[in-house]
């Protein structure tokens, strides 16, 4: 019965995955000079590519470079320092789990919590609102980290807090936008011939918001879902376009992504946020690549409310090369710290801290020499 075996699981079919791998390998060998480099811009893709064995199955034919696709990894040390300062000043800080261990210039939220600071995990932004409502004696700050996928939900939470109204709830706005980051990346040097585009960011912003990659930069790019077959289908489409010398932005995740995206989610996001300049770890400052609270909503901005602002951080002297990894200039195993000084147990940088960071994915799934192809049902994709 379909209720027990959802249709979506067929996108894990090992037979289809093997056929796609074979087709891509033959095409690259015969028609694309034996090798292509592509970039994925989504931490969930990074993990799926590693865990499913896709990277290993396409080894030598396709290099998949991880771009700035993990919101936690690209959060600047300055922002982490400001979040830490809020947590150290006696406020209650609520955050998505991945932020806990990310190093600022000197310490992390986890370290603050260990010293008795009030840092709590939230599963959704609305949880933070509920917590503030049931703890009126605490000043609650939600760390708003994430891309366009996450920002509309935070906008809902902000609107809820305004409506109740809650005097003890605010957010630290650290959201990032994908299109300006891709532009900044492409205005520098990247050695990739095409892009695997983030499926869930695209459900919100739509295919059209990414069409500039083809129109202005003449690059083939494909919006992909997260099952192994989704990812391989996207790689298949990109290499097909490369052979034909075409550059288009193709939606290969039409079950979830529409041309215009989710206009209601966009409307919610822009009702309380406006584009703001933001600093990215690895890419530096990018104009208009973040979200700040709009005029009329500034009272919900924790920075204004508590006078805590991101300050330029001191130089990080660990030798961590996360910045180069996030620009696609360095594969994690080529970093001198990788798996020697820097491990998930003792991470030196954000790409090893976050479960979706490129370094963590390589550490967890790609340190053997196993070269088994994509595994089938249940081996990959979001759970």
């Amino acid at each position: 019965m379909e209720a027990d075996r959802p249709l979506w699981e067929r996108f894990r079919d090992p037979g289809i995955a093997r056929a796609l791998v074979a087709r891509v390998r033959v095409r690259v060998a015969r028609e694309l000079g034996g090798h292509v480099s592509l970039m994925e811009v989504c931490g969930t893709h990074t993990v799926a590519i590693s865990r499913s064995g896709i990277r290993a199955a396409l080894r030598d034919a396709v290099t998949l470079v991880s771009g700035p696709g993990c919101p936690v990894c690209v959060t600047s040390p300055e922002d982490v320092d400001a979040m830490v300062a809020l947590a150290e000043s006696g406020l209650t800080v609520l955050t998505f789990g991945d932020m806990m261990r990310v190093p600022g210039s000197s310490t992390s939220l986890e370290a603050v919590r260990a010293r008795g600071g009030r840092v709590r995990l939230a599963y959704s932004p609305m949880d933070a609102v509920s917590y503030a409502a049931s703890h009126p004696d605490e000043q609650v700050v939600f760390l708003a980290v994430g891309f366009e996928t996450t920002a509309p939900g935070v906008a809902l939470a902000v609107a809820q807090a305004r409506e109740l109204p809650l005097a003890n709830f605010s957010i630290y706005p650290a959201h990032k936008l994908i299109p300006p980051a891709l532009r900044a990346l492409l205005d520098q040097e990247v050695g990739v011939q095409g892009f695997l585009l983030p499926g869930h960011v695209s459900t919100v912003i739509g295919r059209r918001a990414l069409a500039f990659l083809a129109e202005e930069y003449r690059l083939p790019a494909v919006i992909a879902g997260f099952e192994p077959v989704d990812i391989l289908m996207a790689i298949d489409r990109i290499t097909h376009m490369l052979v034909r010398g075409e550059a288009e932005v193709v939606n290969a995740y039409p079950r979830a992504v529409r041309e215009e995206g989710n206009t209601l989610a966009q409307r919610a996001m822009w009702s309380c946020f406006a584009p703001a300049d933001a600093a990215w770890r690895g890419l530096g400052p990018i104009p208009g690549s973040g979200l700040g609270l709009r005029d009329g909503w500034e009272d919900l901005d924790a920075c204004r409310r508590y006078g805590v602002w991101a300050q330029p951080a001191g130089a990080m002297r660990t030798g961590c090369r996360c910045g180069d990894v996030l620009r696609g200039l360095l594969l994690p195993p080529r970093c001198p710290l990788f798996a020697r000084v820097c491990t998930p147990a003792a991470p030196q940088g954000p790409c090893m801290v976050s479960s979706e960071g490129a370094c963590a994915a390589y550490y967890r799934y790609e340190r053997g020499d196993g070269d088994d192809g994509p595994q089938g049902a249940g081996a990959a994709g979001p759970r």
């Binding site: 087709r23 959704s124 994430g146 989710n262 209601l264």
Partner: protein, 74 residues
């Protein structure tokens, strides 16, 4: 971080609903999927439904792919 999972809508009451994900019942915000009804599948990210999943589109993609993996496909 942009992880979103397909879940089935069980009940809907205005902008909120109950959804089922691998046997677990969760409350989810349905503000951005006004057309979602009980029985429909939506993608939920951090407690918020961000898209209604289109089964017809999925079937079309699969039909195209399944030709590939049949012995005569290439």
């Amino acid at each position: 971080m942009c992880l979103a999972v397909p879940v089935r809508v069980l009940t809907r009451d205005g902008d909120w609903g109950e959804v089922e994900s691998s046997g677990t019942r969760l409350r989810a915000a349905l503000h951005f999927v006004p057309e979602a009804r009980p029985g429909d599948w939506v993608l939920v990210h951090a407690g918020v439904a961000i898209a209604l999943l289109d089964e017809e589109e999925a079937r079309e993609s699969l039909a195209f792919l399944e030709e590939l993996s049949t012995p005569h496909g290439s």
